[in-house]
């Protein structure tokens, strides 16, 4: 183990390196580019034996990834925003074919009113694709989540692709202290990749022909169940990881000071750190605040959330993305999953288009959530940091 001060992009690249990734298709896009640059450097220095394939587009990146994964090797790639959107078509091919590709998506806003700054709309738009999807809070978690992603994806009980989502710039270009595991430690943690279905003339298989209606429905259900069953493996991998590396993240969700909490925020990504700080602040004021950190968006932690929120009076859900005219996507999913818990759920949208989220914004969210515990009327969805009154 060594300690370095590096960016999350660097940390993710390092994880892909010690996972002994074999094929890395790539295409540059800010703020992901540092990842593939770093990997190209590892390869050109002889530190990593992998095929680095500079593709003509992100669509081709995911196509190459599919070909290589179906060819039976470990594949990693990274993208952002428009790049992820360009992959959209190919993303859907991966889970159904059960190809355990690992990809980092460095979150960045998407579409018109576009910029290069963080927003989760890019990855949220892909949550129906069948990829396992998780969000990280800091550079260490970016590294650790990537390491775990390989083991999770390749587990025969899972065999699903994993998308690690990390905040553009706030993580990708911020350096902080990161503990880097040694190659040997990783080799002990991650078994050699043993693919299930591969394209090999010695044992010819057809993969993904046209699927007529007589079969498609059963296949979709099978995939839906595979995602469901990945929960147990996530918990198991977390435990194994803690044993090997001494760090753990709580599984599908993590909680902070929730034991006797009366109100809480649910956050994901880097806003979680700010929320943790706010909880401490409110606790010091004698207010029973708590925090739920959503790690996995898929599989969605239905049971875990029901359990974590059962004694709450009020829950605020943070979203760094907008499902236009539908609030935030995390908010709607959380609200739908808590049907049996008598808790007031409100949505809190902030940090849109890379707008900085300040401690004040987070405190405002908590104040509103606390207000709801007193039976006061709180807007269902509040945009924090917006100029002008909300309609």
């Amino acid at each position: 183990m060594k300690v370095r001060v590096i960016s999350a992009d660097h940390a993710v690249a390092y994880a892909a390196k010690i996972a002994r990734t074999e094929v890395i298709p790539s295409f540059p896009i800010t703020p992901q580019t540092l990842i593939v640059e770093q990997l190209a450097e590892f390869i050109s220095n002889g530190e990593l034996d992998a095929d680095f394939i500079p593709a003509d587009s992100e669509h081709s990146v995911m196509s190459i990834a599919i070909g290589a994964s179906a060819g039976g090797v470990r594949v990693f790639t990274a993208t952002s925003s428009q790049g992820l959107a360009l992959m959209h078509e190919m993303l859907y091919c991966v889970p159904q074919n059960r190809l355990p590709i690992v990809m980092a998506n460095v979150n960045r806003s998407l579409g018109a009113a576009s910029g290069i700054w963080v927003e989760y709309n890019d990855s949220m738009a892909e949550r129906d694709s069948g990829w396992l999807q998780l969000y990280v809070e800091d550079n260490q978690e970016a590294l650790d989540a990537t390491l775990m992603a390989f083991r999770l994806a390749e587990d025969r009980r899972v065999l699903l692709p994993v998308m690690i989502c990390l905040d553009g710039f706030i993580l990708s270009h911020t350096v902080e202290k990161v503990e880097l595991p040694e190659q040997e430690e990783m080799d002990n943690f991650l078994p050699k990749y043993d693919p299930l279905n591969i394209l090999d003339p010695a044992d010819p298989k057809v993969i993904n022909p046209i699927i007529p209606p007589e079969y498609a429905m059963e296949m979709r259900y099978q995939l839906d169940r595979a995602i469901e069953h990945s929960r147990e493996v996530i918990v198991e991998v977390e435990k194994e990881f803690a044993k090997a590396f001494g760090r753990s993240y709580g599984g599908l969700i993590d909680t902070y000071r929730m034991e006797d909490a009366k109100f809480a925020m649910l956050t994901l990504g880097t806003a979680t750190g700010l929320a943790r700080r706010t909880v401490d602040e409110m606790r010091a004021e004698g207010k029973k605040a708590g925090l739920i950190k959503l790690r996995f968006m898929r599989p969605f932690p239905f049971k875990e959330l029901c359990e974590a929120t059962k004694d709450l009076k009020s829950l605020g859900v943070f979203d760094r993305s907008v499902s236009f005219n539908g609030g935030g996507p995390v908010h709607t999913e959380v609200a739908a999953s808590l049907c049996n818990v008598p808790v007031t759920v409100t949505g809190h949208i902030a940090g849109i288009g890379g707008r900085d989220i300040t401690p004040r914004h987070m405190r405002d969210m908590y104040d509103l959530v606390e207000k709801a515990t007193k039976g006061e009327d709180v807007r269902k969805v509040t945009w924090h940091g917006l100029r002008g009154d909300m309609e």
Partner: protein
């Protein structure tokens, strides 16, 4: 509600027939719809189309499983598919054949109109597109729509798509079939055997949309398994090979799209007619006219 199922081959115009029947019913002030079986079939492959007619607006969009009327545009389909499956006991049938109704065995004994739509189509359209001729016979055997409305519907649909002259010719074909159709009881002796299929529960489907070659529930699956599709049933003409003339150039072997021409050790050839679709390329490329195409299909 009156439900109709059409069985034909890709290229015969089964879908157009269903649409035209629906339009004829609408002309008579009723409600109707028509749609194809949404497959990916090619010219010559068995296809289906459906139509429904009612006095009310039709809300059901499912396929037709228990038709009141069965329309068979290609007689050879009767031997390869259970076309009459689900046909109501008091239903009716129309078959394109030169035979009489009494000579046809659909597997369900019903009132049946037979008409040699092939001959009519060749006479009027100079092509084996039998859909309008068959509609003449439909008008004859059912009181679903009048021959007048049927003609109007043909004019509307064909005129719009192919021009006035084409519409006139097609109306002529329908009229001729209306006159020439013979009506009687067909036979109901043939067992309606359902094609064997592998339809596993979701747990039993190999994961990853992937299969190795093998047999499941009696059917081939995986790489190469498509050879169980005996496409020779599409054939309308059959190659006749004169080995004496053959110069063993292998042009036919090379150019057969089906791979149904087999190469002997001495480079003479033989046909696996289970797959021959009767395209006639072999005959065309043969430099010594050792291959003739003889009219007639697999049976």
């Amino acid at each position: 509600m009156f439900e109709v199922r059409f069985h034909g081959r890709g290229g015969q115009g089964a879908v157009m027939a269903a649409q035209t029947l629906a339009e004829a019913a609408v002309i008579e002030g009723r409600h109707a719809h028509a749609f194809p079986f949404f497959g990916a079939e090619r010219r010559g492959a068995p296809v289906m189309a459906f139509a429904r007619i009612d006095d009310e607006k039709i809300s059901i969009k499912s396929q037709v499983y228990e038709p009141d009327l069965l329309v068979v545009l290609d007689e050879s389909l009767i031997d390869i598919e259970p076309v009459a499956r689900g046909l109501k006991k008091d239903g009716k049938a129309v078959v394109n054949t030169r035979k009489s109704p009494q000579e046809i065995d659909l597997g369900v004994e019903v009132e049946c109109a037979t008409v040699n739509a092939n001959a009519i189509a060749l006479e009027f359209l100079k092509a084996p597109i039998v859909n309008t001729a068959i509609l003449g016979a439909v008008a004859r055997i059912t009181d679903l729509v009048s021959i007048g409305s049927m003609k109007q519907a043909i004019e509307n649909r064909f005129g719009e798509k192919f021009g006035e002259a084409a519409a006139r010719i097609n109306i002529g074909a329908a009229e001729a079939a209306y006159e020439q159709a013979s009506v009687g009881l067909c036979q109901g002796r043939r067992p309606l055997v359902i094609k064997r299929e592998w339809l596993p529960d979701w747990r039993d489907i190999p994961i990853g949309n992937s299969l190795s070659a093998g047999i499941k529930d009696g059917v081939m699956v995986g790489p190469g398994g498509a050879r169980q599709n005996l496409t020779g049933s599409w054939r309308m003409q059959t190659p006749h090979y004169d080995q004496e003339k053959c110069v063993r150039c292998l042009r036919c072997w090379f150019t057969c799209p089906e791979g149904c021409i087999k190469r002997e050790d001495d480079d003479h050839v033989r046909w696996d007619l289970n797959y021959c679709k009767g395209c006639g390329i072999c005959s065309q490329v043969c430099p010594v006219t050792a291959i003739d195409m003889i009219k007639g299909g697999s049976r």
